[in-house]
């Protein structure tokens, strides 16, 4: 029974961390219509930033500032936001496809930096020994994980509440108007470039937060934690849950992560261990099918967009 419980805790920690990233993506795609093909890259930037800020000091590697976890998370958000600003300034004025291409490119480039800039990232070995903030307060792995789940819940709750509030603010209303009709919004006095950039940077910062939470939980960071498949998983979570709906985003995260881990479990029982790569591929095919099928047959996701007026105006 404790086995099931501890697995459930572990499952929820990861699912909710991914859920935070999905919330960030939802701000970009769901509420602003920005296509970010480099989610994993922005999470990686956050993960590494957090690791450098909170990790132990080491020879031959930068960082090791041993700062508090919260500072690490703030740094994760700032670093991912800054990366987004660089890409956004170049592409947000142009055809929307170019943002997709550029974000895809930055994710690849970030991975290259992670692999090659050993002084900063530890190269292929990554950065290890990142202190888990829950470990200092709890004894034993289960208690630690439960406590960390609390941290993740708090972070996800904050992101959810904060985003919920901001998308219903005049800021969010303007964002939505720009998504619907940029020309009309501009001729009603709104500056599309500024707002898009803000939403893109904020969404990416939230992805960075997810990256920081992930690193704090598993205790190390390496280039192999933020593979391109992660971007697909997060996209699928958003599409399954229903974009432009934050409840849908979290629901999609838990649901798709459940499908992913269950399928991984089944595949590992069925496929011989020497065909590991193939079993991973089978899982990826499942995700791909799910994404395409949702787009074709239920494009609004499980929970579609909600109609909401400014939060100060609800009856």
């Amino acid at each position: 029974m404790t086995g099931v419980f501890s697995y459930l805790v572990f499952f929820l920690v990861i699912a909710l961390i991914l859920g935070v990233a999905v919330l960030g993506l939802n701000l970009q795609w769901g509420f602003t219509g920005l296509f970010n093909a480099g989610v994993a890259g922005f999470m990686a930037v956050g993960g590494y930033a957090a690791a450098i800020l909170i990790g132990p000091s080491r020879d031959a590697v930068a960082g090791g500032f041993e700062l508090p976890f919260v500072v690490g998370l703030a740094g994760a958000m700032a670093a991912a936001g800054a990366a987004a600003a660089v890409v956004g300034v170049a592409t947000l004025r142009l055809r929307e496809e170019y943002l997709a291409v550029a974000t895809f490119g930055i994710a690849i480039s970030i991975q290259l930096v992670a692999l090659n800039w050993e002084y900063l990232t530890g190269g292929t070995l990554g950065l290890i020994g990142i202190p888990n903030p829950a470990a200092q307060l709890a004894d034993g792995p289960l208690a630690r994980n439960v406590l960390y789940l609390g941290i993740v819940l708090a972070a996800a709750g904050l992101a959810y509440a904060g985003l919920g509030r901001i998308v219903q603010s005049p800021w969010g209303r303007t964002l939505k108007a720009i998504r619907e009709d940029e020309t009309a919004a501009a001729s009603l006095g709104k500056n599309p470039v500024r707002l898009r950039l803000e939403a893109f940077v904020l969404g990416s910062a939230i992805m960075g937060l997810a990256g920081g939470l992930y690193v704090g939980f598993i205790g190390y960071v390496s280039p192999f934690d933020f593979q391109p498949i992660l971007t697909f998983q997060i996209w699928t979570m958003l599409i399954v849950g229903g974009s432009a709906n934050n409840r849908g985003a979290l629901l999609g995260a838990v649901l798709v992560w459940a499908i992913w881990t269950t399928s991984g479990f089944i595949v590992s029982k069925v496929v011989p261990p020497d065909l590991q790569a193939q079993s991973g591929a089978l899982q990826a095919v499942l995700i791909g099918l799910l994404l395409v099928a949702m787009l074709l047959f239920r494009p609004r996701g499980l929970i579609g967009e909600e109609e909401h007026v400014s939060r100060h105006v609800r009856p």
Partner: protein, 256 residues
Amino acid sequence: MSEPLLAVEGLTKRFGSFRAVDAAGFTVEAGALDALIGPNGAGKTTLFNTVSGLERPDEGHVRLAGRRIDGLPAHEVFAAGMARTFQIPRPFPEMTVLENVMLVPSGQSGERFWNNWLAPRTVRREEVRNRERAREIIAFCGLEAVMGDLARTLSGGQLKLLELARALIAEPRIILLDEPAAGVNPALMETLVEKIVALNVQGHAFLVIEHNMDLVMSLCRRIMVMAHGRLIYSGSAEGARRDPAVLDAYLGDVPE
């Protein structure tokens, strides 16, 4: 008082070698209700687009209450006090009528991201005021019954009224209406005309592109006629009907 509300001077907009607007010049006085008419392809909508900042002029000046606004992006022209509507209405379809209108006022502090966190009370106060104002204007435009409906569910005529409401809440110095009556059924058209006249009586200035000539001739005090990108007539409706150049613009020249 010597400064006209809107002054357009030598305005030219080229697309390739084609001069869609060709050295157009005119003024609109405060409190005016002027019409801009002309045959298809005369450059009326391009003139609107160029004046309202959606297109950059190639030559010429536009002054609004004395201030140069040519070359400014659309959102800054709007902030300077000029609102416009579109020939084919451009609502935000997935937003309610109320949201469509509340969106508009410039300089809402809640439009700045951080103000929503740092000054939530100011934002709330403004929103409440904004909502009251939006409700009044929506009611004035006769859209009270659909205030909470998504804009995509509105009829063509209701969308025209929504566009008018969105323009009104900004309290612009001048409103450019691009074919307010196109695709509107006669009953709603009466309402629309009533609203425009009532607003004009209150002092709002309008410049109207309209194809329905009976409407233009009865609604507007001054008529400007545009042909081949140029302004060829400015004066009364009666005069326009008798002006040979205007007739030529509509019916073409007799070939030599």
